[in-house]
């Protein structure tokens, strides 16, 4: 029989948190901000094939940073949860808060029970219905849930990005202006040449599904206008 050493819960949680934070810091960050017609999510993403931002439900979007396979597993689980809820009850019964709580519970359990915690941070955005406020929720590797207004950043540089963004953010920006602001903040914070963008919005339109990916060309042309 192996001798087992006693590790205090404090030490265990500290070690695990440090491990997760290190993993997350290796990846690139994502920002989200409200603009006049909806919510913009913007990420630096050199590859075109793997998405960090995606659609979950009619008015709900998901973004993840950190280990790709882990947030991808969570993304799919979120879509499953949302679709099952919407099918069993009604499409109106699927909410960002409900989903974020489920993510938070799952991540919390994984953090304390599994061999290693997930090295991810998640962002769940929901476009408010009929003038109701939008929701922007952050779920951390240990299941911590944060609700923000206006702007929200996740990832290794979240504090820097979020701080810089909050300073310059104004309400009712046009989409182009919001994208430009996001790109400028990325450029200032990262202090290195940025390669490739991924962007998506949740915006009110005639369609039931409000999620729309921004075309690469659109992002490229805005990126080209940045002062270098």
């Amino acid at each position: 029989m192996n001798p087992s050493f006693y590790v205090t819960p404090e030490q265990l949680v500290r070690d695990r948190a440090e491990f997760a934070r290190k993993g997350i810091a290796r990846g690139r960050s994502i920002v989200a901000m409200e603009y006049r017609e909806g919510i913009l999510m913007l990420a630096e993403n050199p590859g075109a094939a793997l998405h960090k931002i995606s659609e979950v439900y009619d008015r709900i979007a998901f973004a993840g940073v950190g280990r790709y396979n882990e947030f991808e597993t969570l993304r799919k689980a979120g879509i499953r949860q949302a679709d099952v809820m919407g099918y069993l009850y009604s499409r109106d019964d699927v909410t960002a808060l409900g989903l974020a709580t489920a993510f938070s519970q799952t991540l919390g359990v994984i953090f304390s029970h599994e061999t290693k915690p997930f090295e991810v941070e998640l962002l769940i955005c929901e476009l408010g219905r009929n003038g109701q406020p939008n929701h922007m929720l952050q779920v951390s590797y240990d299941g911590t849930l944060v609700d923000e207004r206006g702007v929200l950043a996740i990832g290794g540089k979240a504090d820097l990005l979020g701080g810089a963004l909050r300073e310059r953010f104004t309400e009712d920006l046009e989409l182009d202006a919001a994208i430009r602001l996001g790109m400028e903040v990325f450029a200032e914070t990262e202090n290195r040449p940025l390669d490739g963008w991924e962007g998506a919005v949740l915006e009110e339109g005639s369609a039931r599904r409000c999620f729309r990916r921004l075309a690469d060309a659109e992002l490229e042309s805005l990126s080209a206008q940045l002062p270098s």
Binding site: R80, Q81, D83, I110
Partner: protein, 265 residues
């Protein structure tokens, strides 16, 4: 308490993983109807009647009347039988109304679920094949007289044309070259389109002909409800082309229906 999945989100998935109906099955939530072995008496479940779809140059039109019957009574006058199933396709149903509506609901969620999980839409053929599987799963009910027969139409971006699929009660799937119909008035609707259909017709002509075919079906088949201008009941029609699916507006349909009703007098 073995895995996190036991506590919260469905992290694990059935293989292949992108199918919503398989997910429901694995959770024990898929729709189930237990039917007794004894011969079924007439349940009086409402039945939806005529639906049809027609190809034209650049797309496809799909439509249906609004009536559901219960034996020789009218159960619903404003039932909807044509549903956009995603951005590029639409489905219409005939047969036992309650089962048909459930099938449509499951079908629509399935398409959206696949698209979100995989990040790409199913091919049109893939959608039709899946619908055929849903029909086949209803076979035991069909033997009891509770049949559902859908009609599927969509725009295929690969071949750049509209396509129409018809089904039979056992889940057989048939691609129609020009037009297809299902339900009690299908024979009349097809008979009308047999002479009226033209390969090179425009969207406007196709809409007019589909409405006229519904009028023709309602003229002979008592279960089919023709356009009722007095009550303001008009057929549902959807047009699908390279731009996607859109429903034909009621105002325009009223105009078309008025002229085709005038012609049938």
């Amino acid at each position: 308490m073995n895995s996190p999945a036991d506590w919260g989100l469905p992290l694990g998935a059935p293989t292949p993983g992108a199918s919503f109906s398989d997910l429901l099955e694995s959770l024990g939530l898929s729709p189930r109807w237990e039917v007794p072995d004894s011969p079924v008496r007439d349940l009086g479940a409402p039945e939806a009647t005529t639906v049809l779809a027609s190809r034209y140059r650049g797309g496809v039109v799909i439509g249906g009347d609004r009536q559901a019957t219960e034996g020789h009574l009218i159960a619903h006058r404003r039932m909807r039988k044509v549903y956009p199933s995603d951005r590029m396709s639409a489905v219409a149903v005939a047969g036992t109304a309650g089962l048909a509506l459930e099938m449509v609901r499951l079908f629509c969620v399935e398409l959206e679920h696949y698209e979100k999980i995989e990040g790409a839409m199913l091919s049109l053929e893939g959608k039709a094949n899946f619908l055929s599987r849903l029909v086949r799963s209803q076979l035991p009910l069909a033997f009891r007289g509770l049949a559902v027969v859908p009609l599927f139409a969509g725009y295929d971006p690969n071949s750049e044309q509209g396509r129409v699929y018809t089904f039979d009660v056992v889940g057989g799937r048939y691609e129609e070259h020009n037009y297809g119909a299902a339900g009690s008035g299908a024979i009349q609707a097809r008979a009308f389109l047999r002479t009226a259909w033209e390969r090179e017709m425009t969207e406007t002509e196709a809409v007019e002909k589909v409405v006229a075919a519904l009028v023709a079906a309602a003229d002979v088949d008592v279960a089919t409800g023709g356009p009722d201008l007095r009550r303001g009941i008009l057929p549902n029609l959807a047009v699908i082309d390279a731009e996607g699916v859109r429903e034909v507006s009621e105002e325009y349909l009223a105009e078309v229906a008025r002229s085709s009703l005038g012609g049938s007098r």
